[in-house]
Amino acid sequence: MLKAINALLAVLAGVGGGFALYLILNWLVERLPGRWEDRIKPYIFIGPAIVFVTIFLVYPALRTAYLSFFDDGGEEFVGMANYVDLLGESSFLNALFNNVLWLIVVPAGVVIAGLIVAVLADQLSTRGENAVKSFIFLPMAISFVGASTIWRFVYAFEPEGRAQIGLLNAVWTFFGGDPVAWVQNDAFRLNSFLLMVIMIWLQTGFAMVLLSAAIKNVPTETVEAARIDGASEVQIFFQVVVPQIWSTVITVFVTVLILTLKIFDIIYVMTGGRFNTDVIGNRFITELIKFGRDGRASAIVVMLLIAVIPVMIYQVRQFRQMEATR
């Protein structure tokens, strides 16, 4: 009870404090002569945000980079040793390779699946379209961990002779196959691809909503003009519609790409990184929490951070272009 009251008061003090701070600073700036007021005012309002971003994002990032050059206790300087060690371990390279696969397959899969649903749903009656879209959108509301738990039942495996409780194995054995331990099977990275299906299933709804809106915005004149010129429906789609929704496709692709870079939950729940399915997000958690090796864990995150930078730059540029054309 006491704790609850304390928490409530802390929230009040925090919110009230923030509010009061802005009011006081604003009041102070208003006292200044007119020219100075205009000059300083923007900084008064953006300043606190910058301070918070610096304290909670920039500083930790720099500190992590710093720690990545130290040993596990963060005491002894070891230079590039953490990076060299990690990049020399086959299991880490394997995780990197899996990450690259995820980064290629998942965003592409999401865009393609979202596009197909959006186009096909567009052909239905309004009511049918809404119903279909709602269904496809539903998984968006499920957390990664929840979704993985559901898919564990899809991929579940029981030895031959016992009842198959897994959906995929039930279907597989119905058609005469022997039960397969799906998530253990890493031939051609089959198990990694099966895990990617989970993420595609989760994100298709998101892609569908954005792409569907974009498709509806394509001016009908352009489509009709193409039709009059004798283009087939497939030609119309690829040469008239797709170029006009391209910026949305990129937005969806990059958003899912960034989400995929951080992938951890699905791997942790489904395989824990065993059977050649490890990714760097999971490897980071293992090093930091299970093994208590701060230096190596920091090095992993720094590498992840470096990998995200080009994507971020590209997205910011894309965003600026969109703003400019608007």
């Binding site: 008061l9 802390a10 009061a20 006081i24 040993d71 331990a181 253990q184 824990g272 093994f291 208590g292």
Partner: protein, 433 residues
């Protein structure tokens, strides 16, 4: 005017809540002196288990006159580090892994340095138990319970009806396995799946066989990192274990099914009708995973024997076990020292032992208090054992003990890598410093 009023109100709310939260905060923490309470933080979870621990703690509170609180957490291993680092250390922590305890020894007060009844405890404890939590001649923790692991369970009714007998040597165990196979049944149920900890049951198997083929001295060297996983001794033990686990038909579905089966559920299959298998090697606590009707009637439904010794191996019966170790993190709290003394003596824990599944680590504990014949029998066998050794993977560095050892066993048994590759990989993962 309106903005001025809002401003005043804001300032008032802000100042008021600041003052109030300050007062309340002080009230909560400012309870010093003689009546200082003691917090125990531990990894013993599960509704039933926590209830029993709390009963035992209440009993202790009454005996010592100190207010003691038990806080369980599933993420003990992670949280204890961050709690200690963040200055929020509990007074006493119950470590499930002595390896982690020793890893954090700089934060722990050795029991030799305080008046916590270490001498009395070391006399009644099973010999060798304290060694697992000692470093450089100092004892950093003492066990508060134990779960023997070298046990093979069987479904008593079906086992006797089929005319099988408990084996006393490794060869007899293999013969029994073949006999069950010839009768058209699956002899063993083995499961390694345990969420993020998948693989640990197999490390117990290997430890049991290292103790039996190479003996306790080699075992100690192995655990300390002096004897390599790829050494002939450890490899021989792994092969003996493979003879049981991986021979064609010994486990339904073979290696892939072993890796896939949840360890708790795999034990239940013994009690299906007809039995899904006849043998299951697992620690004493597995009884809590047995079907309810079996648990109610444990003595008639379940039989147990110690995993038999290997011919030409160590001459004697070794017992592998695990347990929770209490360590003192805040010796400035005098009451914590007092509680510690009770905690590590043979007086603590009776409500837990009366419920079964886990045992007292003290040889002086009155075995008649155990709830069933099965538990009594296990306790006797542990007391009679020639050698006691602590679960080695809990003593190895975390990278191995909770990392490559687990995954290596999973890769080998699942058939993804051969034994030599796995053993070499585990050796390579052993931290150099």
């Amino acid at each position: 005017m309106r903005s001025r009023n809002t401003l005043r109100l804001g300032a008032l709310v802000f100042a008021g809540s600041l003052v109030l939260s300050g007062c309340l905060g002080a009230e909560e923490g400012g309870d010093g002196g003689e009546n200082q309470s003691v917090t125990i933080f531990g990894g013993i979870t599960g509704t039933e288990e926590v209830k029993l621990v709390k009963e035992a703690v209440a009993e202790m509170s009454e005996a010592t006159g100190v207010d003691v609180k038990y806080e369980p957490s599933r993420d003990f291993t992670t949280l204890i580090r961050s709690k200690v680092r963040g200055g929020d250390a509990p007074d006493i922590a119950l470590y499930p892994q002595p390896g982690l305890l020793l890893d954090m020894s700089s934060d722990i007060t050795p029991l030799d340095d305080v008046d916590a009844g270490l001498d009395a405890a070391s006399e009644t404890l099973i010999p060798g138990f304290l060694d697992s939590a000692s470093k450089d001649g100092k004892v950093y923790g003492a066990p508060i319970d134990q779960a023997p692991k070298s046990l093979v369970w069987y479904p008593k009714q079906a086992f006797q009806q089929a005319g099988y007998e408990e084996p006393t040597t490794h060869q007899e165990l293999l013969d029994l396995t073949d006999q069950i196979k010839q009768d058209g049944e699956a002899p063993w149920c083995i499961g390694l799946e345990s969420g993020p900890d998948t693989g640990w049951p197999a490390t117990d198997w290997l430890e049991d066989y290292v103790l039996r083929t190479a003996g306790p001295d080699a075992y100690d060297q192995w655990v300390d990192g002096e004897l390599a996983f790829s050494s002939p001794e450890v490899k021989e033990a792994a092969e003996a274990m493979g003879d049981v686990m991986l021979a064609e038909g010994n486990v339904q579905g073979g290696g892939q099914a072993i890796v896939n089966a949840p360890f708790g559920e795999s034990s239940e299959r013994m009690f299906e009708d007809p039995p899904g298998c006849f043998l299951h090697r697992q620690a004493s606590f597995i009884t809590s995973f047995f079907p309810e009707k079996v648990q109610e009637n444990l003595d008639e439904e379940a039989g147990v024997f110690v995993l038999p010794p290997v011919e030409d191996g160590f001459d004697g019966t070794p017992i592998l076990g695990s347990g929770n170790f209490a360590a003192l993190l805040n010796s400035e709290n005098e009451n914590a020292v007092k509680v510690m003394e009770y905690l590590i003596s043979d007086k603590f824990g009776t409500p837990r032992y009366e419920a079964g599944g886990i045992l007292s680590p003290h040889t002086t504990f009155d075995t008649s208090k155990y709830p069933d014949e099965v538990t009594k029998q296990i306790a006797e066998q542990v007391n009679e054992a020639d050698v006691f050794r602590f679960d080695g993977s809990d003593l190895m560095p975390a990278e191995v003990g909770t990392g490559s050892f687990w995954t290596g066993m999973v890769d080998w048994i699942g058939g993804r890598k051969d034994l030599d590759t796995v053993l070499t990989e585990i050796d390579e993962s052993w931290p150099s410093s």
